[in-house]
């Protein structure tokens, strides 16, 4: 092969190489452009998913009853599970399962009268001991209620909870429900309550309530006991869940009789 032919061949090979490189660079640019479009599309889809997730969470604004609870208990001292004057002569203790419909009936129809007639006057102090006997939702409800007691708002929380009860053991007492109930209670720090629910001390308080209920022979809810001063609790048998049924024994309790 002559020198001239060899030079032509080299030039042709060079042109081919340059053409290959140009095509490869063009393909790379195209791939990067496509990747950018894919990243953009993925980011948009993620943004939509996050939007849907956020709209379904939050503080469950469909829960009502907070205003009623606020008015019912306004101005009455609360300390943990206790409602009323710490110096009251007598204490009525209620064992309650937050899922129990009778507890809700008592809280809605009878408790307001008891609070007005016997607690506000300073004669009777109430103590609420949440226990779990119906199922897993009861346990989560009890833990949340005890956690609300750590912010001295157990009674408001339980009141709103009862007003929002779902079907027993349907799994309705999830974080969304608890947040919704908590958000309806004025002054209750929702995030703190959710954190407190996980604390061993709250679980220990529930275990103590359960043990105490067992010791006292509690087999259903609501079950009531009364105690004078530091005296031992005595069962308070009531014929019906009505304000009238509680009126006489509580009047006797507040008078020290």
């Amino acid at each position: 092969m002559s020198t001239r032919a060899a030079a032509k061949e080299r030039a042709r090979a060079g042109r081919k190489q340059a053409e290959r490189e140009r095509r490869e660079a063009e393909r790379r640019r195209q791939r990067l452009f496509q990747l950018g479009a894919v990243v953009l599309a993925a980011a948009l889809i993620v943004a939509v998913l996050i939007g849907v997730s956020q709209s379904g969470s939050g503080d469950g604004g469909n829960v009502e009853g907070g205003a009623d609870a606020g008015a019912l208990f306004a101005g009455i001292p609360q300390n943990g599970n206790a409602l009323g004057d710490p110096g009251a002569i007598g204490t009525m203790t209620e064992f309650a399962d937050l899922q129990c419909p009778y507890c809700a009936q008592y809280a809605g129809e009878v408790l307001p009268e008891i609070v007005r007639e016997h607690v506000r006057g300073g004669g009777v102090r109430l103590a609420l001991l949440p226990i779990a006997i119906i199922g897993p939702d009861s346990e989560r409800g009890a833990l949340a209620t005890i956690a609300a007691g750590r912010q001295d708002r157990m009674w408001q929380f339980a009141h709103v909870f009862y007003a929002s009860q779902g079907a027993e053991n349907s799994g309705y007492v999830d974080d969304g429900f608890i947040r919704g109930v908590a958000a309806a209670v004025p002054g209750l720090d929702v995030d703190r309550l959710m954190r407190d629910m996980q604390r061993p001390a709250v679980a220990a308080e529930l275990r103590r309530n359960q043990a105490r209920a067992q010791l006292l022979g509690v087999s259903g809810t609501p079950t009531f006991f009364v105690a004078r001063g530091d005296g031992a609790p005595e069962p308070l048998p009531v014929q019906s869940l009505s304000a009238e049924a509680f009126a006489e024994p509580l009047a006797r309790l507040s008078s020290g009789g």
Partner: protein, 143 residues
């Protein structure tokens, strides 16, 4: 890593992801707490309001994502590469959001969810590399 090696790794990771997502989906519908090495973290995350998206468990979304990745990995050409990358990037982005929720909102860690997030992120990284590098060069024709 060769293109074929990356493809095999993506399929293997997606199969692992299917296992994790299927287990979490089962735990959701069976209403049992997932086996958890981090105390009650998994149960807490599972019970949180963020465990569902528009009424659908997020575990099912993950399962659907992994299955789609496996299917897309068998589509030839650029469409297959871009499809896998798109799904994996979406999954990794949403997994990052869910991990943020675990750390800063729910205040509990579910190791299965973290495992799924890591798997999805690894698939996304491999898929992006495959898109950037393109198909393997065809052998020269000799002309």
């Amino acid at each position: 890593m060769t293109d074929r090696g990356a493809l095999i790794a993506i399929r293997a990771l997606a199969l692992a992801g299917i296992g994790v997502a299927a287990y979490l989906t089962w735990a959701h519908y069976a209403d049992v707490a997932p086996v958890c090495a981090t105390g009650g973290g998994c149960e807490r995350v599972q019970n949180s309001e963020y465990s569902e998206l528009a009424g659908m468990p997020v575990a099912i979304l993950g399962l659907a994502g992994y299955l789609t990745i496996v299917a897309a990995s068998f589509v030839p050409g650029e469409a297959g590469r871009l499809g896998v990358a798109g799904i994996a990037l979406t999954g990794a982005g949403f997994s990052a959001y869910l991990t943020y929720l675990e750390l800063f909102v729910i205040d509990a860690i579910c190791q299965w969810c973290v495992a799924s997030a890591v798997i999805m992120a690894a698939i996304a990284a491999l898929a992006v590399v495959r898109v950037v590098l393109g198909p393997p060069l065809e052998p020269a024709t000799g002309r």
